[in-house]
């Protein structure tokens, strides 16, 4: 968390050292995964080359990668927004689920509306659902200092079960037995940018939000307040910033973006809500935010990386016998290495208290 917040400041120059530090978690994770691959009898370099080819070799593959990275940009962004204010929100996953279901619900219920109305309405519903989902942990954190890690983590499981119940019962598609809502109408679907690829207008929304996030972090009063509150809450309070209110705002914003991630996935790619809708977009978002060190460009790159892994992982199974799970191994180890500190190994002694 502090890694995200502290590197979020505007540094005048980025040196090689910063770049090395930024890619170190990825490199270490690649080494670990290479060992796993080698033990399993694969040539790691060949596998990595294959992954690279399958994710960026050609326009179609790139489109697939970008499409897969769309929800990750948003969940990474949602996580980063909360982290930056010093709040450890690990509940974006739940927001994705409730947001996805809300968008799908609007998309198959208000079938009479025109696209210009229905699409914003459905996306708005997704963002609203995500916002409301974060309301309880936000208020508990800001007013009663209840540990947000636990509450948001618990809410993820509640979201899984709650949405599963809804799509198995009240919202189950008629005549369907497979825990899914009806398909959303055409008017509620996000336009595809490069058919037949699933790449859709959701990516543009994600990029736009990323741009706003960049501007917000650099140039707005709220962005400044958030950063200061995340870096040193006592200082922020002493400077007259209303930190509890800020925490509520940022958690709700984080929820809204998380909900939107689900909504865009529902309206752009899946076209409905099904059980198992999210393969852990919210958790991958944490890895994205950490690896991207909370910066807009970092989040984009990290999301593309994980998007690439997801798409290429799915296809390399077809061309080789390397299991797709190598992607999960990479993702988990990136997360671990992104928060580990190696600096003290080099320093023999720390000065001061």
């Amino acid at each position: 968390m502090s890694a995200v917040a502290s590197s979020a400041r505007a540094t005048p120059a980025i040196g090689w050292r910063d770049v090395a530090l930024a890619v170190a978690p990825l490199v270490l994770a690649l080494v670990v995964a290479a060992i796993v691959l080698a033990v399993a009898g694969h040539n790691p370099l060949e596998v990595y080359w294959l992954l690279l080819k399958e994710s960026f070799g050609g326009v179609k593959r790139i489109a697939a990668t970008v499409s897969a990275s769309t929800p990750l940009i948003l969940t990474g962004l949602a996580t980063a927004v909360a982290f930056r204010s010093g709040v450890f929100n690990v509940g974006v996953e739940g927001c994705v689920l409730v947001g996805g279901l809300a968008a799908a619900f609007v998309g198959f219920t208000y079938v009479g509306l025109p696209a210009t109305l229905l699409l914003p309405l459905a996306l708005g519903a997704a963002a609203l659902a995500g916002t409301l989902w974060m309301l309880v942990p936000a208020v508990l954190k800001a007013r009663l200092d209840v540990d947000e890690v636990v509450t948001t983590l618990m809410l993820n499981f509640i979201a899984v079960s709650l949405t599963a119940w809804l799509v198995n019962g009240p919202l189950l598609a008629p005549g369907s037995a497979n825990s899914a809502t009806p398909m959303v109408v055409e008017a509620a679907r996000l336009p595809r940018l490069m058919p037949p690829s699933t790449l859709n207008a959701g990516f543009l929304i994600a990029i736009a939000l990323l741009g706003l996030y960049w501007l917000w972090g650099r140039g707005t009063a709220l962005g400044l307040e958030t950063r200061l509150a995340g870096l040193n809450p006592r200082f922020a309070i002493a400077s007259g910033i209303n930190v509890p209110m800020l925490i509520i705002k940022m958690m709700l914003l984080s929820g809204a973006i998380g909900g939107l991630a689900g909504g865009i996935q529902a309206l752009g790619t899946v076209n409905r809500f099904v059980v198992g809708f999210s393969p852990g977009y919210g958790f991958t978002g944490i890895a994205v935010a950490l690896l991207g060190r909370g910066s807009a460009i970092g989040i984009l790159l990290a999301a593309l990386l994980f998007g690439a892994l997801a798409t290429s992982g799915a296809t390399i199974q077809l061309f080789s016998d390397v299991p797709i799970e190598i992607v999960n191994i990479l993702q988990g180890t990136v997360m671990i290495f992104a928060v580990a500190r190696f600096g003290w190994l080099l320093k023999n002694r720390q000065g001061g208290k």
Partner: protein, 516 residues
């Protein structure tokens, strides 16, 4: 330095030889040498930031000197951790007590050296026996099954001392042991320490309270700015002489021109306030600060200053009484609201509260003022205006910097404080609450900050200065108000304040009593 310089000498129980410890540019300990003799009480005396705590940490193995050695029984010793010091019989009672919450007093007593029975269980009976024996030795009685969290402060302190004895320490290092105690409890502590001395133990205690030092210590070492200023037997010195050594010459004599005193800006009536542990620290306080004057608050740490700061800023709880800012009752308002009404607050803790060390200089300079119309339009920060504003302020306060975009931690302590000062004086506040305004600031920085405060006063500003530096208060204040035990013991106008007299008032005597 060769070992030949040292000879084993069991009468020198603990000491330091040319100990130097640096933190970056700051030299906390600069060639400190002293020797504490076995069976005596040795006081290390010095003002805030003199380097006492660093020295204690080194003596106890929590830190290591860059140069020089710790002496045990006259011979150099190297401690790689507190455990090494313990092995030599050296233990420390910390200012912030090192007891483990959630454990009982008995558990704390035996922790890390638990008596075991045959089944490797903790033998409660043996532990309690040991506790009772220590009780008798110390002449106290305690409820050993009480959780630490419920124990009052002086009980915790006694447990810490007994724990050291339990673990076989015969050198006790006490860091400001009376800072947290009420006067009656101080007496108890003094009795206890004398008893321990009579049993042949060596006690090293750090303090800046001269009365206690005079009453308790056999020998005294005075340090200032990391250097030893003098060492002597208590019998051969006086409180006044110690005070002079501690404070040194008053370095900064800013030019305080007369100024016109205007309306009352801060008005405090019948104020009572508690600390975080809900102990009543501020009992009854009336205080006025008017436009065009500097009022200084003097007092030994822990006599209500922190609670006064909390009450003026709104960061703490007020039990009774009222705080009015420029005629308006702000007792229940947040700091944010008070800032809007014209309060400025220079925090005593620059690193933790006064600045955001990892944020750029520019952001530290505008934080809190970043929403003012000149700097921010419709929630969007005006980059150009901010840059101009920042550069102007930094130039006006002569802050040496490579770039305002660098983290403020890249500045020296003095320059950091200039930034904090610049921010708090920006936007013409009505009242400036300046707490420890020159703590950890170099001499030139001190002079500059003092001049800033005086200029602001001349321009009609009201300043409340809370400082542990008496010379600073004397130099700055139009009136010095002395706090003792949560009450005002007296008020001294500019020109008539003497260190010795203030020192006695800080220990609870009124001006009339001193005059008598």
């Amino acid at each position: 330095m060769s070992m030949a310089e040292f000879t084993p000498d069991t009468t020198i129980r603990l000491g330091a030889h040319s100990v130097t410890r640096r933190f970056g540019a700051l030299v906390a300990n600069d060639g400190i040498t002293f020797r504490a003799r076995r069976g005596t009480i040795h006081a290390i005396v010095g003002g805030n930031g003199a380097g006492k705590s660093t020295l204690m940490r080194i003596l106890q193995g929590m830190d290591r000197p860059d140069e020089g050695v710790v002496l045990v029984n006259g011979m150099p010793s190297v401690f790689f951790g507190p455990a090494d010091a313990f092995k030599q019989g050296i233990g420390m009672v910390h200012q912030e007590f090192m007891l483990v919450p959630g454990l009982t007093l008995l558990e704390n007593l035996v922790l890390a050296q638990e008596p075991l029975d045959g089944l490797r269980r903790i033998d409660r009976r043996k532990a309690l026996e040991a506790a009772r024996k220590l009780e008798r030795e110390a002449g106290v009685t305690l409820d050993w099954d009480m959780p630490v969290d419920d124990a009052p402060v002086h009980v915790r302190q006694i447990v810490e001392i007994l724990r050291l004895l339990y673990r076989g320490a015969d050198v006790l290092i006490l860091d400001e042991p009376t800072a947290v105690l009420a006067p009656a409890q101080v007496q108890e502590l003094i009795v206890l320490l004398r008893k321990l001395r009579s049993e042949g133990r060596t006690i090293l205690f750090i303090s800046h309270k001269l009365d206690e030092v005079m009453a308790l210590a056999d020998e005294i070492t005075v340090i200032r700015s990391g250097k030893v200023i003098g060492g002597m037997a208590t019998a051969n010195t006086t409180k006044a002489a110690l005070a002079e050594m501690m404070i040194g010459e008053i370095l900064s004599r800013p030019n305080a021109r007369p100024s016109t005193v205007g309306r009352t800006v801060l008005e405090i009536r019948g104020l009572a306030a508690t600390d975080a542990r809900r102990v009543l620290r501020l009992k009854e306080l009336d205080l006025d600060v008017r436009a065009g004057e500097i009022v200084g608050i003097a007092g030994v740490a822990g006599n209500g200053q922190d609670e006064l700061i909390a009450a003026v800023t709104g960061l703490g709880r007020v039990e009774r009484g009222a705080v009015r800012l420029d005629g308006q009752d702000v007792t229940k308002l947040s700091l944010r609201a008070r800032r809007e009404l014209g309060l400025s607050y220079l925090s005593p803790d620059r690193a933790a509260e006064g600045l955001c060390l990892s944020a750029p200089i520019s952001e530290n300079l505008i934080a809190g003022r970043h929403r003012s119309p000149a700097l921010c339009k419709g929630g969007v920060l005006q980059k150009g205006a901010i840059k101009r504003h920042v550069e102007t302020l930094l130039d006006r306060f002569s802050v040496k910097r490579a770039s305002a975009a660098l983290p403020i931690s890249s500045l020296s302590g003095g320059n950091q404080q200039r930034v904090a000062m610049a921010r708090e004086l920006d936007g013409s506040p009505k009242l400036l609450l300046a707490c420890q305004p020159t703590r950890g600031v170099d001499i030139r920085g001190i002079a500059f900050i003092h001049q800033c405060l005086l200029d602001y006063r001349e321009a009609g500003g009201a300043v409340l200065v809370i400082s542990e530096e008496l010379d600073e208060l004397i130099a700055l204040s139009d009136r010095i108000v002395v706090l003792y035990d949560g009450r005002v013991t007296g008020e001294v106008p500019r020109g008539s304040a003497k260190v010795e007299e203030l020192g006695r008032m800080m220990l609870g005597e009124t001006r009339q009593e001193i005059a008598a």
